[in-house]
Structures are given as C-alpha cells and as structure tokens.
Point group: C2
C-alpha cells in the first residue's frame, strides 16, 4: 500500500512544483517584468496552470485515491489528512469541465479590462454587462456541484473549506450592530491628531525600519526577501523561500511599516509549516481567513499596540527626529489607530474595516441567489454605505467599482478578510491565557514566544485541519465574533475615552 | 495537414513555455535566491525539465512529425525549417533513455561537489575518479547514436548542429601557428601600461556607464533588464523579455563594462529573433558559436576598438576624472587590449584566448577517443600550456581544475568559444563591405546601422539555418580562421608597433 502512497506523492509533488514555478513567474511579473514581457508571461502561466490541472485531475490520481482512502482513513495522521484534503480537492476539481475553466479565464480577462476602463471613467455601465457574464458563470460553476444549503456555500468552500454561508451570516449578524454602535460612539468623541503621519519620510529609511521590525518578529530573511511591487503580497516558493513585497506611498509613508508587518504575518505562517508537508496539498496555510488572522494579528493586534511602540518608538523617533518632533509614543499610538469612516476598503481603519466586508458579502450573496440584480449595484452599494458608515461615495469609482475581485470572478473571497480579523482576536485571547506577560515581552522587543506559540498551534499544521476545526482546537470554540468585539471595545475605549 | 501542424505547434509551444519557465527559475536562483531556497528550486527545475522532455519525446510528437515531414520538406520556408529542426532534435532526444539522463544528473551533481573541493584544495586526485565517471558516461552517451566519423562529433553536434570534429580541427590547426607567432612577436615588444585600470572605480558609476553603453548599442531595456549575479550571463524568457546579469570586481572594475557589452551582444541576438518563431524550436539563436560571435563582436571588435572609445572616452573620463587623470584615449585603448599570456581562460585577452580553447579541445577529443587518460591530465595540461603560452600553472587550481564545465558533463562545449571569435571576424569583414563608414559611425556613438544589418542577416533567422549554412549565407564562406588572423594582426600590429 505504501507503494501506492509514494506514487500519489510523486504526482502531487510534481503538481506542487508546477504551482510553485507559477508562483515564481507571478512574483517576477510583479517585481521585475520589463514592459514587453507581459504577453509571453501570461502564456507561460496558462501552460503551467493547465499542466498542473491535467496532472492533478488525471485518472491515475483518482485510482490511487480510491485505493488509499480506506487504508488512510484516520485524518489525525499526516498521511490520513493528506489523503482527505487531496481527495476533496480532487473531487471538486473533477466536477469542473476544463472547457469551463478556459471560458472563465477569457471572460475574466475581458471583465478585468472593462473594469479598469469603468473605474477610470467612474462609469458602472461599462462594467455592468461584463459583471453580468461573470455572475452567470459563477452560477454555472455552482451548478456543477451537488446542491448545497445555499448556492453561495459552494463559492465560500473554495476559500474557506467546510464553511457555510449561514455560519458567516450568523457571525457577521451578531458583530455588525456592535461594530456600528462602537463607530457611532467614536464619531461622537474628540478626534485624534495624525497630521505628522503625512509628513515627508525618506523611502529608504522607512524601508530599512520595516525590515528591522519584521526581523524582530522572526520573519526569516535567510528563507525569504522583501521586494518592491505595485501591491504588497506574500508568495511561497517552498517552506524555505517565502517572499513578501511592499510599496512606498509618499502621502502615507509609514503604511510601508504596517504592510511589512501584515505580509510578514502571512510569511511567518508559511515559513512555519511542517517541512514534512512539502510538495503535498498540506504544504500551505489552511484557509484565507486563518491566513488573514495571522497577517492582521501581526499588523494590528501586535503592530498597532501601545507596548509594541513603547519598544520601537524611541528608535523610530531617532530615525525621523524632525517629522516626529514633539510627538510622544502615546500620541503616535493614537494616530496610527485613528478611526474615521472612509470610502475605500483597503484604506479603512481596524474599527470600520469589517463593515466594508459585510456590505460586499451581502451583495455577493444577493447576486448569487438572484435577489440582487447587477444593474442595481451602484444604488444598493451607496444605500448600504450610508447605513453602515454614514457616508456615500461621490462616484462609482470610489464606490462599487473600487475593488478588482469581481472582475476576476472572485466571488466568495471578501468575507475571509473579516473572518480573519475575528479569528485573530480569538487566537489573541487564547495565547494570552498561555503566556501571561506578552505585553511586557513586546515592550522589550521580544516576539519569539508569541511566534513559537503560533507556530506550534497553527503554522506547523499547514492545511492538516480545516479552518473551523483548527480554530476550535486552538481557541476552544468555533469562529465567533465576541472576542473581536471585546478587543475593539477595550482598545478604542482607551484611545477615544469612551 | 495544417491542422496537424497546429497540433504540433501547440505541443512545442507548451515545451517552450516549460523551458522558459525553467529559465525564469534559473535566473531567479542566480539573482534573488535566499540561502534557504536552493534545495526546493533544484527539485522544481528537475520537474520542469522532466515534463518538458516527456512532452517533447511523446509518441504524439513522433507521429505528427512523421506525417508532416514530407509535406513540409522545403527547409527554406519557416514551417519547413521548423519541422527539420524539430525532427532532428526529436530523433536525438529519443535516442537517449530517460534513465540515462537521471544517472548523468546524479553523477554531474556529485562531480560538481568534488570539483569544488578539488579546486579549493588544488588537488586533482579528488576530482579524478569523478571525471573518470563523467567521461565514461559521455562515452555511453555517444554509444546511443549511430557511429560518426569521430565519436566527438556526437558531442559537438549538441552545441554546433552539423559541425564535425574534423572541421574544427582543421580550422584550429591553421589558426594555431599564426596565433602563437603573433603572441611571440607581441612578447618581444614593449608592454603597454594598464595600471590605471586597477584603481578604485565606484561600483554604481561603472554600472550606470555600462547601461549607457549598451543602451546606445540598442539593447532594449523595455524588453530586458540587467541585474547583479555571481557570473555574467544572458537568459531568454521570450523575444520580449531577454535579461542579462553582470558583476563588479574591485580589482578589475571596468570589466563590468565589457561584460555588459558581451552579454548585450547575446541579448540583442535574442531580442532580434523573428517573433513568428516564438514557442517553436526556431525561437533562439542557431548555435553557441554563432551566439558567441555576437557577444565577442560587441565586446571586442566594437567595444575594444579605438573609434568606439573616441566616442565614449571623453564621457568616461568625465565620470572618473581622478582615476583616468593623464590618460589619453589611445593609451586607454592600448591598456584595454593589453596582451599577456596568463593562466586563467576567463581572464585571457583577445590574442591569447583561443589558445586556451585549443588546449581544452585537444584534451577533450583525447578523453573521448581514449588516447588520453584522465589521470594524466595535469601533466598534459601543463605541457600544452608551456607549448602554446610559454607559461606553466604553479598548481592545478590555476591549471586543469580551473573550469567548471567538465564536472557537469559538458564536453564538446569549449570549442564554441573559439569558433565564436573566428566567426565574429568573418562577419565583421562582411558587414564592412556593406557599410563602408562603420568606424565613423562608432566615433559618433551610432551603432544602429550595424545592429540592423546583423538583425537582418543573422538575428531574425533564429535557429532557421544551421551554423555553417548561416555563416556561408552571411559571409560567402564556411567557418574559416583567415579573417580572424587578419583582424588580430592588424589590431595588434598597431597597438604593439609590430
């Protein structure tokens, strides 16, 4: 039997190699590509994707899985978990005809172009027919799978294996009123000052400072690197080569620091996966939400905390004495946590961010179950913005057209961002039960005990456990927003004197 | 029939995509790889190579070629040439069992490690048993092919399609006495001064100057880039993404300029290939020797010429006024062309370089036909060095152990370097018949007419013609050393007043 397992692992290893090769090509496209190189690169990526898909969905993999499933039924063993995850991915992949994947790629490519133009002109009507096609394809995609409780379940499952729409709705439903209430209380308080954050900070010094921080976090530069790209992201070529990108924006110079913390959170997760899982479907983090819980924890819970800056602020001030002249650590801490309802999701602060997500989730569910018509999106978007955040976009570019996701057919993705925030607070409560002096450690610039705890409880397991099971194991309960409400309330009560 | 051609092109396109993906991974390995990333990268490259090989040697490709060969028999058409080259590559690839390729990779990997140690300790006995295995494998490789006039023909053909050992021997045989004679005459003359070349030149300024030069050459940075790596090389990801690497060595700072010229010569060749050949076996330069003729032409014939420096030297002097204080253009020109028999091939000057190659070729042929025993190599090496260059290495690290090639099983490669020099002079005579004022153009910093001529006559054809046929078409004769002797004699008579 172990011979068949080895045969399966050999094929999965090649699939992993192809996917990692594609990651290298994708990274290079963002970081290095000369202007002329785009077209051939797209072709090369398409070929790698096609071959990986063919290999993974081959009849041979099907036969091997069939033979191995009963022998390796114990999902608590590594091989058992690998067979379980592989079989699930295989069954899902087999349900989608290759011709559909090709059709979706073509539609997405055209929709993306239309979205760029529509956003540029702030004209939803340019994007509307393309989005309608995208939604039709998404519905067809859902139709390939056995009926679920809700059609949106099928989409969600691609990003959060095993997660149900009803669960997400319930989690968000209990969170929303409390988060809206908190924002109203903050709005009624005296606003904090943050003008000094928008002064002129030299790029090189900010970049170096970001690397100083994430080195202390424990991001291993001997198994990774940070490069400049249009958007910050993390990408994995192997457990020993996990790279991050970052950018520098003149009008928001210190955002580079927080992007580095965010991406290093993703990267430390990937660097911490059990090396024995390499070249198998267990080799990466378990889901987008759990991944996001780590990026948001290192960025927000750790990196926007007062103890963190009690350690780093003197050094920051030494690096930027004129820019931060007259600003104390507490004032700096308040400024980087300023809450202000705003139009653009990616710029939203910690307290308002989830509301941007909830709005999108409701619209996505409505598009998929047919209760929302694509042509009505701008109106619905603006009404919900008024409802949740009390502001209305002046145009569609700053409203319904702001995100790229839908043009690429990525419906089911957004909620993972908010789930990540929620999970991060649950894990934070759990780790603080085990390590009682974490904040004191931060004040000394020590993050290794936190990172080791996270590695042992989460990172090392890679994709062995599904997200809800992992959260249950680590925190004692399934995904639940109560910890996140407690976290936000405590933090912002202090900052805004609520 | 055209449907079958399209089927073949679809497979060849995927093979090309896989090979280009491997090139991206290889480039990244040299330019960016964090220390931890090496092992997984080796695995990924092995997988890409294996899949590309499987696809290319599939029975389907064999059947399609069989069906298409008679229909597309006219090698003057693009499709005819493509079928001819593909069929030849296919037949050669089919003769080598995949298990042999794997065995060779393992042997080469161990031999490389042994070579590193042997070179470090200057101890040939560490490398000897590994080189013996490498030679045995090379002999076995030869045995897979139909008997040739000389067993070495089989090896040569992998790098110079269609080239015979007897041809190379004849070319080198007529060149060697003349080149030895020239060097003796130079040695009897007053040596030129070049101490100022070894002063302290700041890296960034040298690097920028190198990019200024190759931009004027016509290397298209919108379809390429220059990055730092341990060794200079050129690599192709598509006709619109052709990259070069370079290095900076403190004790030989201006070598960076000549490396950039050299690699840009390779790169302009690749950037100039007919885009219609993309994703087919015609998409790259025709052979290593013809490729080298272009790198050496742009580096030596153009880049070490007096007219070139009459244009660039004032600017160089402005960039490095203290380093070049008191040095005129002519003195600079003489310095960068200083001839001095030396031990290390890669540092050899233009006049002595080919002798290093001839020595290696004779040893390679002897190893393959059995007339030279591996254990006698150090002695044979030193005797030939004395014979050709009048110097003997003080140890094997600076002698027989200096080059990496043999450890990787690359026997048959070296002669392409010398052939490249020879071809470059033939092409140079041909282009000067068509363009009478080339040197005047260089004095004005104009290189576009030369580049356009080369593009039209050579670059655009990619792999359509075999090297001897291409040289015949462009110069009116096959590869012949007479032009190179004329070129060297004229140049060094002037510099050394012979």
């Amino acid at each position: 039997m172990s011979e068949k397992l080895n045969q399966l692992k050999a094929i999965l290893g090649e699939v992993s190699d192809l996917n990692h090769a594609a990651s290298v090509l994708g990274w290079d496209e963002q970081v290095n590509l000369p202007p002329g190189g785009g077209e051939a690169r797209g072709q090369q990526l398409a070929t790698l994707g096609k071959i990986a898909q063919e290999k993974f969905t081959s009849d041979e993999v099907g036969r091997l899985l069939e033979d191995l499933k009963s022998e390796y039924a114990d999902a608590e063993t590594d091989d058992g978990a690998m067979i379980r995850v592989t079989a699930r991915n295989y069954e899902k992949a087999k349900m989608v005809p290759p011709s559909f994947i090709a059709e979706q790629a073509v539609t997405a490519s055209k929709a993306f172009e239309a979205w760029v133009e529509a956003k540029g002109k702030s004209d939803f009507s340019i994007f509307q027919p393309h989005l309608e096609k995208v939604v039709d394809l998404v519905k067809r995609y859902v139709s390939f799978f056995p009926p679920a409780d809700h059609p949106y379940d099928v989409l969600l499952d691609d990003f959060e294996p095993g997660m149900k729409t009803s669960e997400v709705k319930e989690i968000f439903g209990s969170l929303r009123p409390k988060q809206v209430e908190l924002i109203k209380a903050i709005a009624a308080s005296k606003q904090v000052k943050d003008d000094f954050l928008h002064k002129n900070f030299p790029e090189k010094k900010v970049w170096d400072f970001s690397e100083k921080i994430i080195t202390k976090y424990g991001y291993d530069f001997s198994r990774g690197r940070q490069d400049k790209a249009p958007h910050p992201f993390e990408t994995t070529f192997s457990v020993n080569d996990v790279r991050i990108t970052n950018r520098f924006e003149k009008d928001s110079p210190l955002a580079t620091l927080f992007s580095a913390m965010h991406e290093s959170g993703h990267a430390m997760y990937e660097q911490g996966v059990n090396p024995a899982y390499e070249r198998t479907p267990l080799e990466s983090g378990t889901s987008l939400a759990v991944h996001e819980s780590q990026s948001r924890m290192w960025e927000n819970i750790v990196g926007r905390s007062l103890p963190f800056w009690e350690h780093f602020y003197p050094e920051l001030k030494k690096a930027f004495p004129t820019q931060l002249d007259g600003v104390g650590a507490k004032a700096f801490y308040k400024a980087i946590n300023k809450v202000e309802p705003s139009l653009i999701r990616v710029n939203a602060d910690e307290a308002t961010y989830n509301l941007h997500i909830m709005l999108r989730l409701e619209i996505e569910i409505g598009m998929v179950d047919g209760s929302i018509n694509v042509r009505d999106l701008p109106e619905i978007w603006n009404a919900k913005m008024q409802d949740y955040l009390g502001i209305v976009p002046p145009n569609n570019a700053k409203g319904v057209l702001q995100d790229v996701h839908w043009s690429g057919g990525m419906i089911g993705y957004f909620s993972t961002y908010a789930l990540g925030n929620i999970i991060s607070a649950q894990i934070w409560e759990a780790v603080n039960k085990d390590i009682r002096d974490l904040e004191d450690q931060f004040r000394k610039g020590k993050f290794d005990e936190l990172r080791n705890w996270l590695t042992e409880k989460i990172y090392t397991h890679g994709h062995k456990y599904d997200p809800q099971d992992l959260v249950q194991k680590v925190t004692g309960s399934k995904i639940d927003s109560a910890a996140y409400v407690r976290y936000l309330t405590k933090k912002y009560s202090d900052i805004y004197g609520l």
